[in-house]
Symmetry: C2
Subunit: 153 residues, 2 copies
Amino acid sequence: MRWDTLDREACSLSRTLAVIGDRWTLLVLRDAFLRVRRFEDFQASLGIARRVLTERLKLLVDEGVLKKVAYQERPVRYEYRLTEKGLGLYPALVALVHWGDAHYAGKKGPPLLHRHLTCGRDFRSVMTCSECGEAIDPREVKPHAGPGAKKRA
Amino acid sequence: MRWDTLDREACSLSRTLAVIGDRWTLLVLRDAFLRVRRFEDFQASLGIARRVLTERLKLLVDEGVLKKVAYQERPVRYEYRLTEKGLGLYPALVALVHWGDAHYAGKKGPPLLHRHLTCGRDFRSVMTCSECGEAIDPREVKPHAGPGAKKRA
DNA sequence: TTGACTAAGTTCACTTTCAAGACTTACTAG
DNA sequence: CTAGTAAGTCTTGAAAGTGAACTTAGTCAA
């Protein structure tokens, strides 16, 4: 399999990675969630080649994860904002952050905490079942083919 | 920033990506969660260069995400199994899958469904707050510096 | 008018990583 | 001995990232 054919796989993870799996993209999204909006600020935060950042931002805009929003008119200037589709990546992103917290924060502890404004507390993400509300244990999950599965030849 | 300095960032996402952010790694983990275990089977499923697969598996083993378990002795042969640490990536992985389902499954629907054995139903992942149990809306989360944050210069 | 500045890219030469495939190693069985 | 199995290792060329400079399209002040 080639990386550039991921979008054609009958696999949702592959299709997701076709959009957000390139080097640096998840860190671009991290910044977007932290309210970084402008090209120069993404570039300053990440310190990556401008060409790479341009490409990453373009794909995210093309796929509707980010949108370009004019923040001034003369001259016209744009910033990049998360769309609803982009916001939908939050659970995945915060799960990755919290996994890093759990295993790599060391003695100092997590560099960043997430306060749930609804209850006022710093939280850990817990993945629960949409149907019964229980926390999900991966050993209690059985994958099975769905309607979009590839037909057997 | 160079990709090979991610592990030194005071950022949990960067630290996570230093381990699982390389091209193909998340698909290796997908397969591990789907009970693929042997080198040849990973290779057949992914169709990637054996050298790349070797490197990815090695880093995952070195970092304790996968472990090598002998499945026979003569000759000794190993398979790769998820550790507890590796299982901890399930929420992130399934969130990415479900994001792909939501946006790229098209008319056919998701290729793979996840049955929660505890309640017997196919589920969507819902991220909830460890403290109050409510579903998390990213707009209701405020990030703030934690104990491991980088000191200001 | 010119020059300086700002923001967002685009281009280039070089380095690193992936892709494709062949080859190697260490066995076992016939 | 040969053939087969499993898990790598090695090689060459293509693709992607790195680091930095340059370009474009404005605006504003002197």
